[in-house]
């Protein structure tokens, strides 16, 4: 295909040369060129290999609908699958073709084309079900999957995207003739208007074709300039160029992506795209139409392109991809291409129309006759032939005779479709137009207005009246634009979807989806195999499932299916167009919500101390909690945890418990409310005392636990698990508002207002005496499970005597701002008593030795308090509480429920692991009846061996018996099932 440069225009300057590399070879283009137009200028049309058969493919279109010309931009994070027809070139750009090896010209994968008779519809489904598991690993996965595909994923993607929110009255999508006219009507009104266009130039059809000759008696170019100026000057209209609306959500919520580096190289570290999230009162769709292609043998050869795209290259890029293209059409849309060619001093090599001579527009007829263009009416192209490019075509004329025409370019037009993707995303309904042979928008589901060819108005006759009618609700001024056309015709089309090949052959291919390599034969086969529902057919053949969503071909497929099934197209229906309209990168969707901004990090007031003292952190919900403290870099986690836990048992340890959820409950009816929310009864509880409490779901399963401090019948403070704080508060709010609105009670989170220190160990009392000399910590004055308010150096503090480790322990609650100072003070005073900080892992070990559960680790939403052996915590005399009735359901009282037990290895030297299954047989013989599994497992230096908590079927009655724990190496470890308490069973240390 030999291209020629036409006259310069406002979009392309021939004096501004730009160099770029394609597959390593240097070429020149001009400023304003897309990759496609620059390649065509250099007479390159082979730009890629197809998805399945590795067939040579060229540039088919001149816009977003491009199915073939997808390239990898090496110079920009190696971005794959970039549409060459959109991306503008810049100095030094490096581009690579895709899906070929070793080179584009000699692609090894093209051997697939020879085997193509077996790669038919459903190939993947049929093959991958195939004979042996090993095939998957050794053949399918490495070979077949690699052979099929598009670009390579980028290795080191650093794209940055911003998100911008808009709240406007009207959004106009598409800045073509209709979009500009609508925007013009809104100039200086009270409406906030957003005008969005995908191109870097407003004007659409005015720029891309020669259809219009005069607007309001002015040259279209001049009219355009004036109008854009007026719109830009208007204060209420904002224009977004280079912005593609990809998604139309419910309640007029639009998502659009703006390319910030059009025609220049992206700069690392700078925002390369902006995601616009738009909420609008009305959406006005003026996004035009898309031309479709036609199916015949080898309709994928490089050198074949859509006729309107050829015209766009001429008008927009000053480039004729070929000096003498052949035109093949079944409709009037290609008239203007003939006009443009002749205006540029070129002429088509032949004009082939499937319509009869009477149907063809008289002015086109005249134009063709005057210029001596060979005309074939009532004719069809049977096939295109050539080696990696089109060389000749076979035309069947009205008499049935075959004519061979040599050519280097073929322009196709199979009719035009309104671009209904966004309209259907908005859930608007479509109607099949039997005359124009396309789906057109009919009933909108949202406040959506369609105008121009996007609404199916392919003629300009009703331009003014249609806009005036549809904008009536806005009460903007009436439009009266005079339009004169170069090709004064009404849209006319004859039905033609596919031309059958001249010779029947297994290798003859007429494509229906170029990107996914689907042929019309695949469609036939799918229907024969019973996939005659359009949604099934789509998935079975992968038709229109490429990144282009079959923009130029999906209606053709419906046409072919309707003919095959002998149904009307509207009976066949259409597949659903889903967002996004065109691919957008994950980095654009993620925006700035990644890395450290992905999720908020919550830190305790003591965090900086932890950092300085060798803490290794673990994430608990959003919180950063010290997992363990390293005394030196060599200390392993196991050693640190054993050291920390041993120190708590022998001396004393301090844990930062600030992350525990804290909820304050107040109100006249607080007592009644607490009795309803928790299983325990708080009525007889003394003021100033505390109680370990359980919260259930209505299904009777343990949801959370914590310690409840009763300040008075009207005032409680509850602690929750670190991860459960929000859920527990949410649950309290829900029941207070929805079930018991009669109760006067209010609750609020005070988690972040107070820091919590848990000090425990035999030396704790001595440390507390030193730290708070004015408080009496004796057993009589300060018994276990009581709390006291004090003032310490002007800071109000609350001390609770409770323990999660099984040792004598106190929890100190301090307003967050004063916490670091008191923490430091305790650290230095505690040194002489061996006080050392410990982390969550040591805490878990210590609590497990005592058999204290962790909700979410030892329970999983299917465990009742009875299963845990905690029936003593249920206020049986209470009339009602959350989940009470469920505790006597047939399922919850069944005997073989999984219950909490302790597990120790029969041979103390054996190791156990969390997640191991408990079984009864020493030998593993499938099927293996499984009793349950280990939920928590640690090595205890106090006990000198491993121990575990487990939930196993009927566990309570199995205590004292033996069982086995299965290992990953298919052997078993003998274990003893014991009571879930391993240390200080009678709580002597706790109350000492």
């Amino acid at each position: 295909m030999k291209s020629i440069n036409l006259k310069e225009n406002q979009f392309i300057q021939f004096h501004q040369k730009i160099s770029f590399k394609f597959d390593g070879v240097k070429y020149f283009g001009y400023k304003g060129d897309t990759i496609a137009s620059a390649l065509l200028r250099n007479n390159i049309n082979l730009v890629g290999r197809s998805f399945k058969y590795h067939r040579p493919r060229g540039i088919y279109t001149c816009g977003i609908e491009e199915p073939n010309a997808l390239v990898q931009i090496i110079s920009e994070y190696s971005e794959p699958n970039t549409r060459a027809t959109i991306k503008k070139i810049y100095e030094g750009m490096e581009i690579e073709s895709q899906n070929r090896w070793p080179s584009l010209e000699n692609d090894f994968g093209s051997i697939n084309n020879l085997f193509s008779p077996i790669f038919t519809a459903g190939f993947y489904y049929k093959t991958f079900m195939g004979p042996h598991k090993k095939f998957w690993k050794n053949l399918y996965e490495p070979l077949i999957r690699r052979a099929a595909g598009l670009g390579k994923p980028p290795k080191d993607f650093k794209g940055i995207s911003n998100h911008i929110h808009h709240n406007v009255d009207v959004t106009i999508i598409g800045g073509g003739l209709n979009g500009l006219l609508v925007a013009k009507s809104f100039i200086n009104t009270n409406y906030d208007v957003l005008l969005i266009d995908f191109d870097d130039q407003l004007g659409g059809i005015i720029n891309n074709s020669n259809k219009i000759s005069l607007i309001d008696n002015k040259e279209p170019k001049d009219w355009l300039k004036e109008t854009i100026q007026e719109i830009e000057d208007s204060k209420n209209i904002k224009i977004l160029k280079n912005t593609l609306v990809t998604t139309y959500n419910y309640i007029n919520h639009l998502i659009a992506i703006e390319d910030r580096f059009v025609g220049s190289k992206q700069i690392e570290g700078k925002v390369n795209s902006t995601l616009h999230k738009i909420r609008t009162g009305h959406t006005i769709l003026c996004n035009g139409h898309i031309e479709r292609f036609l199916s015949f043998q080898n309709n994928d050869l490089p050198g074949i392109m859509l006729s309107s795209s050829f015209e766009k290259y001429m008008c927009r890029y000053g480039l004729a991809p070929s000096k003498e293209p052949v035109i093949f059409s079944n409709n009037s849309n290609s008239n203007s291409l003939v006009f443009s060619l002749i205006k540029a001093g070129l002429k088509p090599k032949a004009y082939i129309d499937s319509r009869s001579g009477e149907e063809i527009e008289p002015n086109l007829f005249d134009l063709i006759r005057i210029n001596d263009v060979p005309l074939y009416t009532n004719s069809q192209i049977k096939g295109a032939f050539g080696n990696k490019k089109i060389e000749k075509i076979l035309v069947e004329d009205s008499s049935g005779a075959l004519n061979e025409i040599k050519c280097d370019c073929l322009c196709l037009s199979g009719g035009i479709n309104p671009d209904v993707h966004l309209f259907t995303q908005s859930k608007g309904l479509l109607d099949w137009d039997e005359k124009d042979l396309t789906y057109k928008p009919s009933k909108p589901f949202q406040p959506t207005i369609t105008l121009g060819s996007a609404s199916g108005q392919f003629n300009f006759d009703n331009l003014n009246s249609d806009i005036n009618k549809k904008l009536k609700t806005f009460k903007v001024k009436q439009l009266d634009v005079k339009l004169e056309l170069n090709t004064n015709t009404k849209y006319n089309i004859e039905k033609l979807w596919e031309v059958s090949p001249q010779k029947k052959s297994l290798w003859a291919k007429s494509f229906i989806d170029l990107q996914n390599d689907v042929t019309t034969k695949d469609i036939r086969q799918a229907i024969t195999e019973g996939f005659d529902r359009i949604e099934h057919l789509k998935r079975y053949t992968t038709n229109s499932m490429g990144t282009d969503q079959g923009k130029i071909s999906s209606i053709n497929a419906l046409g072919i299916v309707s003919d095959l099934l002998d149904k009307k197209v509207n009976e066949v229906g259409t597949t659903i167009y889903r967002p996004p309209y065109a691919p957008l990168s994950f980095s654009a969707i993620a925006g700035r919500n990644c890395y450290e901004f992905y999720d908020p990090e919550r830190k305790s007031p003591i965090h900086s101390w932890h950092l300085k003292n060798g803490a290794i952190f673990e994430d608990v919900g959003q919180w950063k909690r010290p997992w363990y403290f390293q005394i030196n870099k060599e200390e392993s986690m196991h050693d640190a945890v054993q050291r920390e836990s041993k120190n708590v048992r022998e001396n004393a340890g301090i844990l930062d418990g600030s992350t525990l959820g804290k909820i304050e409950i107040k109100g006249e009816d607080a007592l009644e409310f607490m009795n309803l929310i928790y299983t325990n009864s708080f009525t007889k509880m003394k003021q100033g005392s505390a109680r370990y409490a359980l919260m259930l779901g209505e299904d009777g399963m343990v949801k959370d636990d914590g310690i409840i401090c009763k300040i008075s019948d009207q005032h409680f403070i509850a602690t929750t698990t670190t991860g459960g704080a929000a859920t527990v508060l949410g649950c309290m709010e829900e029941y207070a508002q929805t079930e018991w609105p009669n109760l006067k009670v209010f609750m609020n989170s005070i988690t972040e207002q107070y820091a919590t220190f848990n000090i425990s160990g035999p030396n704790t009392r001595e440390i507390m005496k030193k730290a708070f000399p004015n408080i009496n910590f004796s057993n009589e004055e300060f018994p276990f499970m009581t709390f006291q308010f004090h003032e310490f150096n002007g800071v109000p503090i609350r001390i609770l005597r409770a323990s999660f480790t099984g040792e004598l322990g106190y929890e100190i609650y301090i307003p967050s701002n004063s916490a670091p100072k008191i923490w430091d003070n305790i650290q230095s005073l505690g040194k002489e008593f061996g006080l050392a900080p410990y982390g969550t892992e040591a805490m878990h070990l210590l609590r497990a030795e005592k058999g204290y559960i962790i909700v979410g680790q030892d329970t999983d939403g299917s465990i009742t308090p009875i299963d845990l052996g905690l029936s003593w915590m249920i206020g049986k005399s209470k009339k009602d509480f959350l989940g009470k009735r469920s505790l006597t359901r047939s399922d919850t009282i069944r005997e073989d429920r999984k219950q909490l037990v302790g597990i120790i290895p029969s041979n103390k030297a054996d190791k156990l692991e969390e997640g191991q299954h408990i079984i009864l047989d020493k030998e593993i013989k499938s099927p293996v009846p499984m009793l349950g599994h280990i939920t928590s497992c640690y090595h205890s230096s106090t006990l000198g061996h491993d121990f575990a908590l487990a939930v196993i079927k009927n566990g309570h009655s199995m205590i004292g018996t033996k069982a086995y724990a299965s290992t990953s190496s298919m052997s078993t470890t003998g274990v003893d099932i014991v009571k879930p308490v391993f240390y200080d069973e009678d709580n002597k240390r706790l109350v000492s």
Binding site: Y250, K427, F445, T575, E734, Q737, T738, P741, K879
Partner: protein
């Protein structure tokens, strides 16, 4: 994303709210004898109609208030929101303009012929 009209705060983005399932499900009085079936239905069984549906929402990242609404589950349109102590509106007052977005039958789904 939906816009939900909180009866206390006004229209806000859906991301501020959490869904609470079917509304007007009465919790059996715990002080009385409750049968297994009655309690089981309260805990586990909820309606799941295609069409108009009484639903609970909570303005989680806002006023933390619970409220009720009528939502058309086939179109996601929220027809009315009302406070918990307000009477539940009669569903006959609402006309579902489009039965379902693609005109599918009332039960089941799939892509059937586009009809008005």
């Amino acid at each position: 994303m939906l816009i939900i009209n909180c009866p206390y705060c006004g229209p806000r983005d859906q991301s501020e709210f959490s869904n609470g399932g079917e509304a007007h499900v009465k919790r059996p009085d715990g002080s009385k004898e409750i049968g297994d079936r009655e309690w089981g239905e309260y805990v586990f069984i909820r309606a799941n109609p295609k069409g108009l549906f009484y639903e609970r929402w909570v303005h989680t990242h806002g006023c933390r208030k619970w409220f009720n609404c009528v939502r058309d589950t086939s179109t996601d349109e929220i027809l009315v929101t009302y406070k918990l102590d307000e009477k539940k509106p009669n569903l006959n007052n609402f006309k579902s303009v489009v039965k379902t977005p693609s005109g599918e039958p009332e039960v089941g789904s799939g892509n059937f012929t586009v009809e008005k």
